[in-house]
Amino acid sequence: MNKQLHNFLPFIRLGLTDVWRHKTRSVLTMLGVVFGVGSVIAMLAVGEGASHQALDSIKRLGSQNIMLVSVKPTSDEGGNVSAQQGRLAIYGLLYDDEIRIKETIPNVLLTVPARMTRRMARVGEKQVELRVVETIPSWFDVVQRPLLAGRVLTENDHITCANVCVLTEQGVRRLLAGEGVTGERIRIAAGMFEVIGVVKNEDGGTVRAPDSEADVYIPISTGTRLFGEANIRYSAGGMEGEKVELSQIIVKMESTETVEAGSKAMEAMLSRYHKKKDFKVDVPLTLLREAERTKRTYNIVLGAIAGISLLVGGIGIMNIMLASVTERTKEIGIRRAIGARRSWIVMQFLINTCVLSIGGGIIGLLVGIAIPFIITFTTEMPTIIQPYSLILAFGISALIGIIFGLYPATRASMLDPIEALRHE
């Protein structure tokens, strides 16, 4: 109706003045929506940040890669592990496995063997245990690490079994203080090594990179020549040793499409040669998909929690509005007596609730944007504010105003004007 349209603007003013005249109550009523909207945005931002970090670290592992990792078999499976060899446990991936993969699995681009051990290192008087990655130069092609100084391992180092090493930033911190470390000489177990380069560390994250704890890289040929393949520790009960030819084989496939088939074929092929289950196959692509699925679940859970808090905020509004209708019964009676239609009373109260919920929504929006910034600033946890979450939270808050305002407004309009005027 044209007339009602004409009347709409004054009603907005009316709603606004209603809110303004009951400041304290309005603010308290809005709080529910403020926190509801704020928590939706903040939670989604934190969730998005965390999963983005996880996805990022998986992506850095390379979606074309397949990781084969040696695992110590559980004792009941590997009864023969130590039976003939005394206390020397022999298990894990072999050089032969690498060759078999290269020869039998289609679409393999590159294989990188690696052995990870812990060895004592010394510089002058300082002695620390380092995590050593013995590998070939193409490691750095498959697992990319920014070079901070010097150079990485080369084919020549590998062929000549050179006593050179590349430290990680963390390795430098642990072993050498100060800068200009390239050219420095360090002792690792029985060998002297020259530091030829420094690379940046993998920065943690929820998914561990194959070398997330590494301190130093050396050519695998040098490692074999100096240390052999057995890692023996002396302990109170005597000695305990492990012989692991390769701790890891990273297989780079030609494309992401061939990753899944390749990993299955590899697992089947290796299972035929390994009687006991002493290896596992990690596919970053699968991890990626899983992480994405987890992220979705996470978002649904967060969304549900936030939705409930918005609902609670809405019920709070409804509560206050019902109280307000009772309190303003006389006003409603006066307005009706003067000639306000039922629908105009509905409109007045509905606009009142909408002003509250949208006002709360706007403040909540600001709170929701501020919280992730504070979190990132204080805990260095990454947060990402998704534009859709802003629209979603704000839209829901407006909707809540309408839904939860409708009942009190209708109730107000249904009051009999004669009764309402008599109300004290």
């Binding site: 004054p10 009316l14 006389k330 006066i334 009706r336 003067i338 000639g339 039922r342 004669i418």
Partner: protein, 243 residues
Amino acid sequence: MSDVQQNVHAPSANEVVRLDSVTRHYRVGDETVRALDGVSFSIRKGSYWAIMGPSGSGKSTMLNILGCLDRPSTGAYWLNGENVAEMDDNQLSDHRLRNLGFIFQSFHLIPQLTVCENIEMPLLYLGVPHAERVAKAKMLADRVGISHRLRHLPSELSGGQRQRVAVARALANDPAVLLADEPTGNLDSATSIQIMALFNELYEQGKTIIVVTHEPDIANYAKGCIVLRDGRVASVNEKETRP
């Protein structure tokens, strides 16, 4: 021709209010209470009437029906040429908005609104633009002698001042009938005299006024008096008619 007649034809042009055998029944439990039991009268444009009666006479019911807040159970009530008995709730609201000005015993101003906003209220619902509303509110406040208090809240005014604001609000929509319910019930006698003088002024200016009261002193200000008893018209006295 008298202002009050007993006939069942459609109202003539100067009959602003006309009731034809109006009844109003309530059901209380198993009993039917006849609050109004066949009331007929008519009121000419520009006249000033009092409706009197002891409590239980059907005075309040009469007021509600005259004020279009309630509909007769049977019979017809014409206000400004339209039969209220046949209207739905929205039409009733519109009818109140256009044709009636209410003045209540306890003023019934909205406490959160200023004097000006209270006076403006009927105009707001009529869809009058803001500037025009304010201008008219000022004019009306001036007319009832309250223009110096436009920005005040009702709680800051005396009883007499509040009732003046209520009168200004009742006049805002240029109603066909001013309907007052015990307009001096909450006022001291000095203020009552002032308010009744204001009513008299309005009558002189040509307004149609109906005052519902149980006080003979107040009824005396009116130019005619209808007395109700047990839901029926007991007597109709007219002191003077407008020349």
